[in-house]
Symmetry: none
Subunit: 194 residues, 4 copies
DNA sequence: CGCTAATCGAGACGGTACGTCTTGTCTTTTG
DNA sequence: CAAAAGACAAGACGTACCGTCTCGATTAGCG
């Protein structure tokens, strides 16, 4: 039974230094080589100060990503769903290939193993998916998407290829790739019956 | 300058014991908790015998997956592409949720960090993708897929959602899920112009 | 450039447990079979705690011997040098045939190879020799030893046979052996000129 | 139950190459760093060829020392025991400080631990001691040594300081050191009663 | 404004696994 | 078909981090 610390006395400066140091280290040396010890050293902080407030390095970096997301604009709605999806997926793709991409990749990796990390990560993912589904629902109401399309499936058809390419194939895709994916997706694979 | 060992003198029995032990351990205790030391102990083998032939535990398990794939049937061609894709994706999904899934998940995780592992993993992935694209090419020639569809994109639209659901959402999907995904994909999202 | 630890924060309890465990192991299984790993396990201590403070198992056991010596009475001075030498050499002989003898033997062995150990060992040896020489100097001043005797040589004549018998001949000598050696030594080998 | 090999089929050339290689390695890199593997490599011989005929590297080097001793002149007898002892101890001292000294030192070290080696080493030592005692016996008969001197003790008084200085103090002693030791030994430490 | 209790930086601690090294035996290939 | 070459099982080596713990020294919040 460990006593939990008093958040009022928490040193906000340390918190920011830790998040910053963790992110920088992760970008510079990679997620795996980032150690709690290293984060503490770079942040000029004792190891215990990290363990007092976070259960693991993944939790630290997850908080970094949450802060980052909080500072990010939401899904737009221009009226044209295809335009909006291109904008959104392009934005996601830019994130994945930026510095934060290395962190996010590390978190996804950790989530495969660590249940605590997994639930935090999943929360972020589901929020993005919910946003996407909401935009699709609007489009469906407006007749831009067939009425019989299952939106849960549709949203996975959109994000699936994006993550597949990034996580499993490690290729830097051209920006217009997602546009083509979306066009193909909207048109379908089957030939139109004559 | 480390001398490389002579493969002709390799003990095939040890090799198999190591692959088997690695796979079993990975299933039982998880990829992360699987250690080279543990594999050696379970296989009744010296640690050096592992390090002599493989650079890491990931390489061992990669070889296990390669052997597994070599013993696996290829893509069928019944004439109906949708039927074949359902069969294939269902088979993949079964693999992912089987014991080997835990190993494959671990390898995908490792590939995010370890370049050597990454190239081996990517080779397996690309082979599966190539097989898929080949089947789609046949279907396109037979008029079951529109002539203007980019098959590279099509194949990613197929496998993307599958891996997205498995890796990022950790849900066990019903078997018919992939069938619905494929139907939606063939039909497209856009309403058919009246 | 390895940072050296702060001795003020050292855990004295661990230090003692390590010295004790090392000594016991050495006695039970022999110096060669005593491993740092074994010492750590028996002392209930992490390996790193040993490596933090000592460079090798020899250094640990050397410290044990130093502690032991510090707790040992000095050369007596009863006025009669022969009596005192018999007392001292008997005490040394008892040490050599006691448990500590196994440790000391191991250290002497290690000192033949390992320069760092050698200098620590030599320090202990020279201290004993200096003590002996000091007692002889007093005896020489008192006329119990001829004025022209080189005391450096005399002290080596005293300890030399003792170590020769113990190290090279591995025989357990009777306690009175040293008394006879000393008598012979004082009387000389040559017949007294008539 | 290991079958012992047939000595008639033994390759004398390999035997010599192994002894030579072992001695050279020992001199060049030290006894501890000399490995059976290294000896085999340098002698152009398989490891098993060494293990077939010798139980350990110590046994190989012991055989080298035995061969060396067989090729060495015996104790002289000029009629003056002090002269002869000076000659003999000087010769020993030269051996100890020569290349062979490193080998001999290694064997003495090994003998502290390894019983098999110990008995071989002890045999060599005892032979030298017996030779010395025999010369002293002659001297005693000739009246050059007091009749009541215990020759077992006398011989240890002679070799003891020599080995003590060499093994425990690691100093290179001047050649005349032993002459002075012997003079002191013959004269005794006690002042001649007036 | 001072007291006091918690947080802070620092780092030693008991552990686990790493990847390397060496030992003596066993096995394969070669001359 | 014997010997060289070297793969093998075993296990200690010294290192890197883990997550916990114990220090004094601030420092924040209550009295």
């Amino acid at each position: 039974m460990t006593r939990q610390p008093d958040p009022r006395r928490r040193n906000e400066q340390s918190r920011r230094a830790i998040l910053q140091a963790a992110a920088e280290l992760c970008v510079q040396v990679g997620f795996a080589a980032t150690t709690v010890e290293g984060i503490a050293a770079r942040a000029g902080v004792g190891k215990q100060t990290i363990y007092r407030w976070w259960p693991s390095k993944a939790a630290v970096l997850l908080e970094y990503m949450q802060d980052l997301r909080a500072a990010t604009a939401d899904f737009l709605d221009t009226g044209d769903v295809l335009t909006d999806l291109v904008a959104q997926t392009t934005a996601v793709q830019r994130l994945l290939t930026s510095d934060a991409g290395a962190i996010w990749r590390g978190l996804l990796v950790t989530a495969q193993t660590d249940d605590a990390a997994a639930s935090g990560v999943r929360e972020l993912i589901e929020r993005a998916i919910d946003d996407g589904r909401a935009r699709l629902a609007t489009a469906q109401r407006d007749g831009q998407i067939r009425a019989d399309v299952d939106l849960d499936i549709a949203v996975e058809l959109i994000f699936g290829p994006l993550y597949h390419a990034w996580l499993l194939r490690a290729r830097t895709l051209p920006e217009q790739h997602m546009a083509e994916v979306l066009r193909t997706l909207f048109a379908g694979l089957a030939p139109t019956p004559a």
